[in-house]
């Protein structure tokens, strides 16, 4: 490969990682929520509230740490609203999640009105010494900002939590069979509320990444449907954290590639090329789904089902 080609490859990889990062955050959060047996379709609304809260905080000069915390906090606040309705009042989860999205789109637009058109400094990159000097991969993976690293490190952390710790086991048990978990003496509601809050925090961070790092600005509806892609990625991942990361990188990578491919002289319309990330995700899912038993093993059996403690 020539030097220019290597540089291009590095740029593609770096762009792929960044494009995937909001999806990684949101998908990991939703994955944990779903592992506890709760389907929260309000990711888009939580992301937007996270984005506007983080941006507003940074814009007010409170610093990035506070901005990220506010982004996550706004996501948590939204998720608590969902938890109150879906768990507290046993309202339908699917509909509540969708309503939360509508609510979040409107609320973020409303509170962000005065922030439109004002810039902030982007979250700075933090090159990791030595690692960032590795050719190609170094630039792509180790010269990113703090949120990218957090998103990647969250994968082993969540895997460890879910599969190696006792609270993780309880969380999965609640999602798998809430009646049995209840009979053993675990508080199904408490576990689920915490899982929903974690999902909210991660969706909020996904939004914060958009408005602080990826495109440091606030414009209405800036998540442009990424919450929905994240939702699909949880299914793609068959509820396994590492696969969620792979799925996000696959989706992000194909998205970036099709933009490059438009200048390769292929006589195909851009609309057709733009279908590729979606089609690629479907095809890969089909390939990994062929083994039915593997999928069934991972899907939380109580996903979306109402728990009646009195029974």
């Amino acid at each position: 490969m020539s030097e220019a080609e290597i540089a291009t490859l590095a740029a593609i990889l770096a762009a792929m990682v960044r494009a995937a990062t909001p999806l990684v955050f949101a998908a990991l959060g939703e994955l944990v929520t779903e592992r506890a047996g709760v389907l929260n379709l309000g990711i888009e609304g939580m992301m937007l509230m996270g984005a506007v809260a983080a941006f507003g905080t940074a814009h007010a000069g409170a610093g990035y740490a506070a901005a990220m915390a506010m982004g996550a906090g706004a996501g948590v606040a939204m998720s608590l609203l969902f938890a109150f309705l879906a768990l507290g009042l046993r309202a339908n989860q699917v509909a509540c999640g969708l309503a939360l999205s509508i609510f979040g789109v409107g609320l973020s637009a409303f509170v962000g009105k005065s922030l439109v058109g004002t810039p902030i400094e982007a979250l700075p990159a933090l090159p990791i010494p030595l690692l960032s000097e590795i050719p190609v991969v170094g630039r792509a993976l180790f010269s990113q900002d703090i949120l990218v690293y957090v998103s990647v490190l969250a994968v082993p952390a969540i895997s460890w939590f879910l599969f190696k710790t006792r609270p993780g086991l309880i969380l999965r048990a609640v999602g798998e069979n809430h009646d049995a978990a209840h009979d053993i003496g675990y508080s199904v509601l408490k576990v689920r509320v915490l899982a929903i809050m974690f999902g909210g925090a991660m969706a909020g961070l996904a939004g914060a990444y958009l408005s602080l790092a990826y495109t440091p600005m606030w414009v209405e509806n800036m998540s442009s449907g990424r919450g929905w892609i994240a939702l699909a990625l949880v299914v793609f991942a068959t509820w396994v954290p590492a696969r969620a990361l792979l799925g996000a990188y696959l989706f992000g990578g194909v998205t970036i590639l099709q933009l490059h491919a438009q200048n390769w002289g292929i006589p195909v319309s851009s609309q057709i090329l733009a279908m590729l990330p979606y089609l690629a995700t479907i095809i890969v899912l089909v390939l990994i789904s062929r083994d039915e038993t593997k999928i069934k093993l991972n899907a939380p059996a109580c996903l979306g089902k109402v728990f009646h403690s009195g029974r």
Partner: protein
């Protein structure tokens, strides 16, 4: 003090009607506070939002026009949701229905006759059903989860329609703008009320609801759907695999979404354009659950949702309420409606002992 929920042995019949009333009361109260806090007089604002769209025959015709695609899609989706089939792809199926029917309408551009419109509409049904057949096939043959496949196919459909109207199906008289030719009269839905846009398709919504109700409550297939919905394993014990249910519910949902798409382009739009739906396929999911997955409940839910959209526009026009506020308000209405349903299945008590039901 905290809320304590007690499961009722039987859903309360009285609460079936009390719950929505309570939701409306809560909506009016909090909506009034919301509008007042933002500097709008609360009563006129609420009146504009909920009553002005119903003020005259034209307003009601617009309400029915908007509710029709929502109702048709939601009724069909609900069958799947009852059987644990998660079709999130109605938006794409609607678009592909519009593409198929639009293609036929353009192919029959020079033809006139009473049979043209039925053929065009049937093409829409077929287009939507076949497109929904893709996730059905992938689920049955490869166990691929339909939430992902149907959702991803929405984006593919949007891009496919965009390609058609920007490219091969562009109107030759349209200065290369992204639009097809306007359809001729034989491919257009006859208008029900002179001077309005309400077309005969509105009559189909109750018909589709009736069909869905008959399927659900009177047919063996409906029995299968309900059994699988309650416990997926029970279906296979009882000797019927869920394959039939998956294929039927997905393709029925797709077909009806396709019909809705066909009726949009042969009705109020009159041609193929890049945007044929303002998200009916997604809103219909809310309508389905708001209507408690019951065909006739869904008809009401679709009307209510249509009202909140039209009311939101009216509030922007008459009072200058920003769109963001109308969306917040719409979200609140949905929250109240969904939350008040708790009264139907549960007795709510105030307990001295803190319980997570309230703490959540």
């Amino acid at each position: 003090m905290a809320l304590h929920l007690e499961l009722r042995p039987e859903p309360s019949r009285a609460m079936l009607f009390v719950a929505p009333m309570l939701a409306i009361a809560l909506t009016v109260a909090t909506g009034g506070v919301l509008f007042a806090a933002l500097g709008f007089s609360p009563l006129p604002a609420l009146k504009v939002f909920f009553l002005s769209p119903l003020g005259d025959l034209y307003g009601i015709s617009e309400l029915l026009l908007k509710a029709t695609p929502l109702a048709i899609i939601a009724v069909a989706l609900a069958l799947g949701f009852r059987g644990n089939v998660w079709n999130i792809g109605a938006e794409g199926q609607l678009i592909m229905g519009a593409v198929a029917s639009g293609g036929v309408a353009l192919a029959l551009y020079d033809v006139s006759g009473y049979w043209v419109l039925p053929v065009v509409l049937l093409a829409g049904v077929a287009g939507g059903a076949l497109y929904a057949g893709i996730p059905a096939f992938l689920r049955i043959r490869f166990h691929a989860n339909e939430i992902l496949t149907s959702l991803m196919l929405n984006y593919v459909a949007t891009l496919f329609l965009a390609w058609l109207v920007h490219g091969p199906w562009r109107s030759p008289e349209g200065y290369n703008f992204p639009e097809s030719r306007m359809f001729t009269d034989s491919a257009l839905m006859p208008v029900l009320l002179e001077g309005t846009r309400l077309h005969v398709g509105a009559l189909l919504a109750p018909v589709v609801a009736l069909i869905a109700w008959v399927i659900l409550s009177r047919s063996f297939l409906g029995f299968q759907i309900k059994v699988i919905g309650m416990t997926p394993a029970a279906g296979s014990y009882a000797g019927f695999g869920p394959k039939r249910v998956i294929a039927f519910t997905l393709m029925f949902g797709g077909g009806m979404a396709g019909l809705a798409g066909a009726m949009e382009i042969c009705g109020p739009i009159g041609q193929l354009v890049p945007t044929v739906s303002p998200g009916y396929g997604y809103t219909a999911i809310i309508a389905a659950f708001l209507g408690r997955l019951h065909p006739f409940g869904i008809l009401l839910a679709a009307l209510l949702l249509a009202l909140t959209y039209i009311g939101g526009d009216a509030a922007q026009i008459s009072l200058g309420v920003p769109l963001a506020v109308t969306q917040v308000f719409q979200g609140m209405i949905l929250f109240f409606l969904l939350a008040c349903d708790v009264l139907i299945r549960y007795r709510v008590r105030l307990a001295a002992r803190p319980s997570l039901g309230g703490a959540a």
